[in-house]
């Protein structure tokens, strides 16, 4: 790892100031992706801006018909928080399958969203639930946030402060984990909420996406059978040693069926 300066601001405003002053500085939340990347010298920031001292990034609260989760909330907290378990149990169950216990104890929802790993779990949930990503300066609908592999709509000095999930009537999640790395080969999050039916897919493509055909089918009839015959085109899906694009395309249908069953 190359060395770097270290800052620990105590407010979002101070963190953003530090980011704006140095374009080569990087914010760090749980560090579960960033630190391994630094060890491999894939990244050479001049400074790390540790967000763990910022109280306003923590906490889970209900705001009207939505659950708002602070960016520094860990996967473990999402998996076990009583309000999330009560309002969006599928989201809590999803968080309980991220990485392993030690990763869930450190990794955060804000970090995962901002990183936008193709195999990350939360983006599929954010898309399916029509979530809004909150930053230091604006609110970004999930549909406009995830732009491509490790790419989001965030500006260089913009910080994710939280995410707001509209509470759905029902939601479910299923994924096939790579047996070795345990990352999602393909995961599907389904939700029936105030803004309609959402189907979010992760792991299959360079970036999480919504499966519109399945959304239409589930809007007409909420059942696993409704998506069983829908084939995901493999054209833009990932193909690697773990599975071909055609394999992942098939998994989209299989996982969608299981996710609907999970939602009940």
């Amino acid at each position: 790892m190359y060395d770097f300066a270290y800052h620990k601001p105590s407010s979002v405003a101070d963190a953003v100031k530090l980011m704006a002053a140095d374009p080569e500085a990087r914010p760090v939340s749980g560090g579960m992706t960033l630190l391994p990347a630094l060890k491999h010298r894939l990244n050479k920031p001049t400074a790390l801006i540790d967000l763990s001292g910022i109280a306003e990034l923590r906490g889970v609260r209900r705001e009207g018909d939505a659950i708002v989760i602070g960016g520094m909330t860990t996967h473990y907290e999402v998996a076990t928080h009583p309000q999330i378990l009560a309002a969006i149990p599928a989201l809590a169950r999803m968080a309980a399958t991220i990485g392993d216990t030690q990763v869930r104890n450190r990794g955060t929802i804000g970090g995962s969203l901002a990183n936008n790993d193709p195999a990350a779990d939360y983006p599929a949930a954010a898309l399916a639930l029509r979530a809004t990503i909150l930053t230091d300066r604006r609110r970004i609908p999930a549909d406009e946030f995830f732009l491509g592999m490790f790419t989001t709509a965030l500006e260089a000095d913009e910080l994710v402060t939280g995410i707001s999930f509209p509470i759905p009537e029902k939601a479910g999640y299923a994924k096939l984990r790579n047996p070795a790395s345990r990352y999602s080969m393909t995961g599907v999050f389904v939700a029936k909420g105030p803004q309609g039916v959402g189907v979010g897919v992760n792991g299959a493509a360079p970036c999480a996406f919504r499966q519109n055909e399945m959304e239409a089918a589930l809007s007409a009839s909420w059942s696993a059978d409704a998506v069983a015959a829908i084939k995901q085109p493999p054209d833009d899906l990932n193909s690697d040693i773990h599975g071909s694009a055609a394999y992942r395309a098939n998994l989209v249908t299989v996982m969608a069926k299981r996710a609907v069953a999970d939602a009940g």
Binding site: D3, Y76, N105, R106
Partner: protein, 167 residues
């Protein structure tokens, strides 16, 4: 050079570190607490698991500077001053929950976190899932699972066969 103050196994330490210094480097190289192992150095194998506050973490994937003021427990901090083993260590010994022993410190630290977060008890399935972040390349998981099940009963205050036998 940044300075961090850590409480490790109840003892306060102030150490000079670089921004990039990992917790496991401070533990092993500065404090000479070499019970915490580095297996993969890529946050997969869990040989480096220690307790930070209430949580188990992988000490190879956390910077020392992030932990100023933190309370840390390593495998060396589990046994009582008179040498009496922690119930988890005792169960690992009783059930022979190791082969080469390299993964054992991390297994024990993860297992204690798992038991503490499941005060009402643990199924075999929950134990196996709870060990997802710890890899034993001898593949000796079976006795590890048995040991954790036994230690969970002791730690949760139920008198197990193991505890009764010891009396």
């Amino acid at each position: 050079m940044p300075q961090v103050s850590l409480t490790v196994n109840g003892k306060s330490h102030t150490v000079d570190v670089e921004g990039r210094t990992l917790l496991v480097e401070v533990l092993r190289e500065k404090l000479r607490l070499t019970g915490t192992h580095v297996g993969c150095d890529t946050s997969q194998c869990g040989a480096c698991v220690v307790q930070v506050g209430e949580d188990s973490v992988k000490a190879c994937t956390i910077l020392a500077v992030q932990l100023d003021g933190a309370e840390i427990t390593t495998i060396e901090g589990l046994a009582a001053a008179d040498g009496t083993l922690h119930p988890m260590q005792e169960a690992f010994r009783e059930y022979h929950a190791l082969q080469c022993g390299f993964c054992t410190p991390g297994m024990v630290m993860s297992a204690i976190d798992l038991v503490k977060k499941h005060p009402s008890g643990l199924s075999e399935q929950e134990i196996r899932e709870g060990l997802e972040g710890n890899i034993c390349r001898c593949t000796g998981y079976h006795n590890i699972v048995k040991a954790i099940a036994a230690a969970a009963e002791v730690m949760n205050g139920k008198r197990s066969e193991l505890a009764r036998a010891a009396e």
